[in-house]
Symmetry: C2
Subunit: 195 residues, 2 copies
């Protein structure tokens, strides 16, 4: 079946966001990344700033925070409510139009659709560090810390809500090392797979 939705999961610093944005432009389809936050905020009633901080990343306290965070009378934590809003927004978007969706466990949320290409972009540490230094104007040591912390939180969020393991090849249709292949080749491969 032809693929009309592309989800991009990615390691921090791997350029996955950039690759996804370029693919969306070249294919002339919608691109959802940070702009999805406003919709989740609307759906959930939480402030956009709160969603930005919480919808994709695990709480800074770590994975166990999910299990032990405060729950309302229905047994749902605030994180669960944000996640549920995010899930609804992603399902609606997928129903509505062809698009690229960055992160947010969209691969798992859309797992019952046959028209989704799930991509994971990863890379080698030296190239990821360089990229983060350049984009965020930080030292190498800070870049390494940012990469490790962000990936740790993405992993914890993904593993908690999907019961799959973040970064396992079997979750994705395609996994690509952007440091070895280059960003252009990653874009080409993704576009070849949706044609």
């Amino acid at each position: 079946m032809a693929k009309r939705i592309i989800t991009i999961s990615r390691e921090f610093g791997s350029g996955g966001r950039f690759i996804g944005e370029e693919v969306a432009k070249k294919l002339g389809i919608a691109y959802y990344d940070k702009d999805i936050i406003g919709r989740i905020a609307e759906q959930s009633g939480f402030a956009p700033e709160y969603i930005q901080e919480n919808a994709e990343l695990s709480p800074k306290k770590g994975l166990f925070a999910y299990a032990f965070s405060g729950r309302d009378i229905t047994g749902k934590s605030v994180e669960d409510m944000v996640y549920e809003a995010q899930r609804k927004v992603i399902l609606e978007i997928a129903e509505k139009e062809s698009c690229v969706i960055i992160g947010r466990n969209a691969d798992f949320i859309l797992r019952d659709r046959a028209d989704v290409l799930n991509v994971f972009i990863h890379g080698n540490m030296p190239e990821k560090v360089q990229r983060i230094c350049r984009l965020y104007h930080v030292t190498e040591a800070d870049a390494i810390k940012m990469i490790n912390d962000t990936n740790k939180r993405r992993r914890a969020n993904y593993n908690f809500y999907t019961e799959q393991k973040w970064g396992m090849a079997e979750n994705y249709t395609l996994s690509l090392n952007s440091s070895v292949l280059g960003y252009d080749m990653c874009q080409k491969i993704i576009m070849d797979c949706v044609k």
Copy 2:
């Protein structure tokens, strides 16, 4: 750097071996799969039948067998000696010629070379079961058992000798779901990446 060696790791039933063989034919380069066994036998002094059974798969007893199996005066087990012979053979082959190498932890063994494209081929259970039923003339239940057992032994062997996790996207340059993409598209992507 241009890639002249392609390693293919694969889930049992995913068609990874077939895809690798086709790529080697189309590129006109050497293909190493079962024929590597004779060389490992020669190198190690063990019988080819023994290598066939042990060089890529963990002992049937399971992962802990590695740790507790009999060791000679140097502290090496028979499995370690076979693995060392396999490692030497793969390093020699890579030095000598462009080729496709199926399995045998070649991605890890050749990790210090920049001219290697590491590929992992995986697939969905229904398609893998169908393939194994057709190739081995077994029932679906037997196919499922074969798939699970073989992958378990490949995983145990890989994880023990590489200290990486079999099937994690980060180990490979490319990971492809052959059930979703089709064998032809997998071949095309691999060939595009070595051109």
